[in-house]
């Protein structure tokens, strides 16, 4: 039996899979790259939802891991390592180390402190990236060429990149779905619901939260590797605090604590940004107003809003 959300996810993946041929048929092949970017952010949003939605850890430094992933590509590329598997590996290891260190410190605290500290560590990485004058400092640098797969330049074709991203998104979705239903996921959800209760049945919660934080960081770094390839350009802006904010927005708009929600939230947010940016130079103003309205009047995100409008009550 499949849940409504599982069904929704399946439909989304099916729609995504047929997007490029349809767009090309319509003569709008360019939009496929927009959809690629939407899916990359969906991976990042999924990773954030693991700690934000399931662990109730409001991390405001998640873009750092996007930055780590993207710079892993740039740095390895400059050393002549273009293989994407090697880049994924290096990015994931670097992200894991950074997450383990900063997470150990940040997770000793709660609430507002945790938000501020993750924000500060994110900013620390941002300044680190800016200081790398070899890689363009403030401005960043463009990627000489996209990554290779087993020595082949397949990813130079946008379509190949599209389906690689789609595949990885599907893998992440499946993996995280399993994880949230596993023993580990249950413990994580338990700490979200009531940390004291969890301790009173014998769980030391820090290792679980830290593990979730590290897993989340590693997945997000994968999104960073893909993003560098999609943009063919890497800059510290990928790791800015505004980007971390945007990632949170995606998760919350889609409905926090639901993987399908986080994914749709990302697709929707990036799509909306792209659309608005075409209409007005000052799209951020309207985006901000929309976000403010959603937070003030529909705390459950767009999912609740949609449910309320269609009269279906709270989606379970």
């Amino acid at each position: 039996m499949m849940s409504r959300r599982g069904m929704a996810a399946l439909i989304i993946f099916a729609l995504l899979a047929v997007t490029p041929p349809v767009l090309i048929f319509m003569g709008q092949g360019f939009f496929a790259s927009v959809v690629t970017r939407m899916m990359i952010y969906a991976i990042a949003a999924l990773s954030l939802d693991l700690i934000l939605g399931y662990g109730a850890l409001v991390s405001f430094g998640h873009a750092a891991f996007l930055g780590i992933g993207a710079y892993a590509v740039l740095m390895l590329n400059s050393l002549g390592v273009t293989d994407i598997a090697a880049q994924f590996g290096a990015a994931a290891v670097a992200a894991a180390v950074f997450a383990a260190i900063t997470g150990t410190i940040a997770l000793r605290t709660r609430g507002v402190y945790f938000i501020m500290i993750t924000l500060a560590f994110g900013q620390m990485l941002y300044f680190f990236l800016i200081s790398l004058s070899v890689f363009g400092g403030d401005d960043g640098a463009s990627l000489p060429a996209r990554s290779t797969i087993m020595g082949q330049g397949w990813l130079d074709h946008d379509l190949a990149l599209f389906y690689l991203v789609l595949g990885i998104l599907a893998l992440c979705f499946l993996g995280l779905t399993r994880l949230t239903m596993s023993r580990f996921g249950r413990v994580l959800i338990g700490t979200r619901e009531d940390a004291l209760r969890m301790q009173a049945i014998g769980f030391r919660i820090l290792p679980y939260q830290l593990t979730a934080y590290v897993i989340s960081a590693m997945i997000c770094s994968v999104a960073g590797v893909l993003l560098a390839n999609q943009l063919e350009y890497v800059s510290p802006q990928l790791a800015s605090w505004q980007r971390s904010g945007e990632l949170i927005i995606m998760v919350v708009l889609g409905g926090i604590g639901s993987l399908t929600g986080a994914m749709t939230g990302a697709l929707f947010t990036i799509g909306l940004e792209e659309g608005m940016a075409r209409i007005s130079e000052h799209w951020k103003l309207y985006f901000g107003l929309l976000l403010l309205a959603v937070v003030l009047f529909s705390p459950g995100g767009l999912a609740t809003l949609a449910a309320r409008i269609t009269g279906k009550g709270r989606p379970e």
Partner: protein
């Protein structure tokens, strides 16, 4: 060399004082209302822009400053009444999102009104020029004036919080909100006041800095995040902590950026040292924050419970 160090320490102190003006409002709002306001940095920016316009309009730095203060206070009041008060009882995540939305709205709004190009504010004659410091090194009068104004504000805050009835209520409120309500004080009004006052301090900082920095739409971000670092180091809700941490952060950041590469180069005698110094210096304050957190999870002057 030691003269140069003195100069940089003074520069750092001046930066720290500005940071304090921003952090003071932030930490009060955190401590008393348990409210996280990402839009606080934007108030600093708005202060600088208002200063640019008002001083141009009146043709006087002083009139500009005098008008900027109530104007930013008004902005703070409007935001509090229209938005923030709906968020006090909401989860932190909602506060983060709503105030982040405000950052987007106000930053973009500023771009629409004033354009994206940086603005300049001219320095008043009275405060331009510099005084000899030691040997050939001189220090700008204006920066001294910022330090003096900041110290005066800090003293004023210390007096208000330590010696007046309102201050007593604030301290009590930071400790136990219900108790203040029980004293028959309208907690909503108290919050509004704190907020407006915090906004004014941030605006004041923005106005003061406008003649020495270019006024641009991104100027609030950096100061906001350093403000958080200050609060984490000093302890949420503690004005004294904010003061000490601001100076610490201001001085370490400024001195580190100048001397980090120099010192490393002396130690390592390598070309790579300059790059390493340039890399480490901007990270110093964050490393300091991490170290202090390991040592005292609630900050230097934070309450010790949980």
């Amino acid at each position: 060399m030691s003269n140069l160090l003195l100069l940089q320490v003074l520069n750092g102190a001046q930066f720290g004082i500005l940071l304090f003006l921003v952090a003071a409002g932030l930490t009060l709002v955190f401590g008393i209302m348990d409210f996280i306001n990402l839009a606080h940095g934007v108030l600093y920016m708005v202060g600088a822009y208002l200063m640019a316009s008002l001083s141009m309009l009146t043709g006087s730095f002083w009139w500009g400053l005098l008008l900027t203060l109530p104007a930013t206070m008004l902005v703070g009041l409007v935001l509090e009444v229209a938005i923030f008060r709906r968020l006090y009882d909401r989860p932190h995540l909602d506060q983060v999102l709503a105030t982040f939305a405000l950052v987007m709205i106000l930053s973009e709004g500023v771009k629409i009104i004033w354009g994206a190009a940086p603005l300049n504010v001219s320095m008043p004659n009275l405060l331009s020029g510099s005084i000899p410091l030691a040997g050939p090194i001189r220090f700008p009068v204006y920066r001294l004036a910022i330090i003096a104004a900041g110290l005066a504000t800090a003293f004023g805050l210390w007096f208000v919080i330590g010696r007046t009835r309102i201050g007593m209520l604030l301290r009590a409120g930071a400790h136990d909100r219900a108790m203040v309500s029980a004293l028959g004080v309208d907690i909503g009004r108290l919050f509004m006041l704190v907020f407006a006052f915090g906004a004014m301090l941030a605006g004041f900082a923005g106005a003061m800095v406008s003649p020495i920095l270019s006024v641009d739409p991104g100027m609030g971000d950096q100061i906001l995040i350093l403000g958080f670092v200050v609060i984490v180091i000093g302890g949420v809700g503690s004005i004294r902590g904010a003061f000490v941490a601001s100076l610490l952060v201001g001085i370490i950041d400024t001195v580190g950026r100048i001397f980090g590469p120099i010192v490393l180069k002396m130690v390592l005698e390598l070309d790579a040292a300059t790059q390493a110094g340039r890399t480490v210096a901007p990270m110093l304050v964050y490393i300091l924050m991490a170290a202090i957190l390991c040592w005292r999870p609630n900050g230097l002057f934070g309450r010790t419970s949980a």
